[in-house]
Subunit: 204 residues, 2 copies
Amino acid sequence: MSKGNTKGFTIWFTGLSGAGKTTLAHKVHEFLVARGIMNLEILDGDVVRTHLSKGLGFSKEDRDTNIRRIGWVCQLLTKHGVPNIAAAISPYKEIRNEVRQMVGNFVEVYVKCPLDTLVQRDVKGLYKKALAGEVKNFTGVSDPYEEPDNPELVIESNRETVEESAQRIIAKLEEMGFIAPKEHKYSKEEEEEIAKRLESLGYL
Amino acid sequence: MSKGNTKGFTIWFTGLSGAGKTTLAHKVHEFLVARGIMNLEILDGDVVRTHLSKGLGFSKEDRDTNIRRIGWVCQLLTKHGVPNIAAAISPYKEIRNEVRQMVGNFVEVYVKCPLDTLVQRDVKGLYKKALAGEVKNFTGVSDPYEEPDNPELVIESNRETVEESAQRIIAKLEEMGFIAPKEHKYSKEEEEEIAKRLESLGYL
């Protein structure tokens, strides 16, 4: 089995805070490793803010800079054949389209969830604060979110399981020719390598 | 010939403005392509400032953030088997060592040139301005440059040709096991691919 996939692509998750972008990114990662793709990189919005965007805030301008920067790194990785997943709210259509142009092999996935549901769940307690006016520029409450016009996929995270969503994304990657269809039989050695990798990532 | 080298590494050029970091980076790139390494990425300080570090200035803090950010991208590329070259003044020892730790396969190359020579050449006219006090925080004139204690290589760019320097870097990469020794005979097809690549990069 080759150490890495030679075809680079970017899966770009966009959607409101709490919609399930990060969880889904990790499930897709798990599924891709199980398909023998060992070299995927996840660029999670929150993590990337530490390394790439320290000092940037949540104004439109700062958000745009943050997204362009993540997009530039996605573009670099894709160009060099490294599949990658970005998970960032990325509320503005224009900048997402800019990133799409820059990257090329781009799979925009809109992780959609009704605001009501997000407010009810409110895992991090942020919606409550935003609705009380304690957090400014909160996307979906006090800051705009522009839905994609033509995303490659819409995931309704309140209606399907994470496994179902991840499976649909894998099918889309096959359809777009970014990964090979699953017909390959793995050797015992390959299956061991996959199991080892899944374990090291904490998925097994 | 494989599309890419599977071993990632970072060649980190440090040195004063005008010492020849960018020129040398491109010569090393040319030599590496000629060795069949097709997937190298150059992160040039000036270029990277547009994509990664817009808004950062030249205070110690901003310089440190800029270098850490470039280092983080080098680390990503190296991790995924993409050889890369960073060319940035990177005046502070501590931050360069931080990047070294983060990257792992790290080849620090100090591109050394006496200040007198740089002031005489003054290709961009910046030293004149710095000496006249018109440019603030100019490394080597009004801002410190800390020489590396134990770089993998010191290039005296006023005493050797660019070709000699690039050749020494290639030899160092072989010695460190990052590229295979040149004993491989290329097929006609491989040689054509190399020539095509060199031409597309403007080196032929």
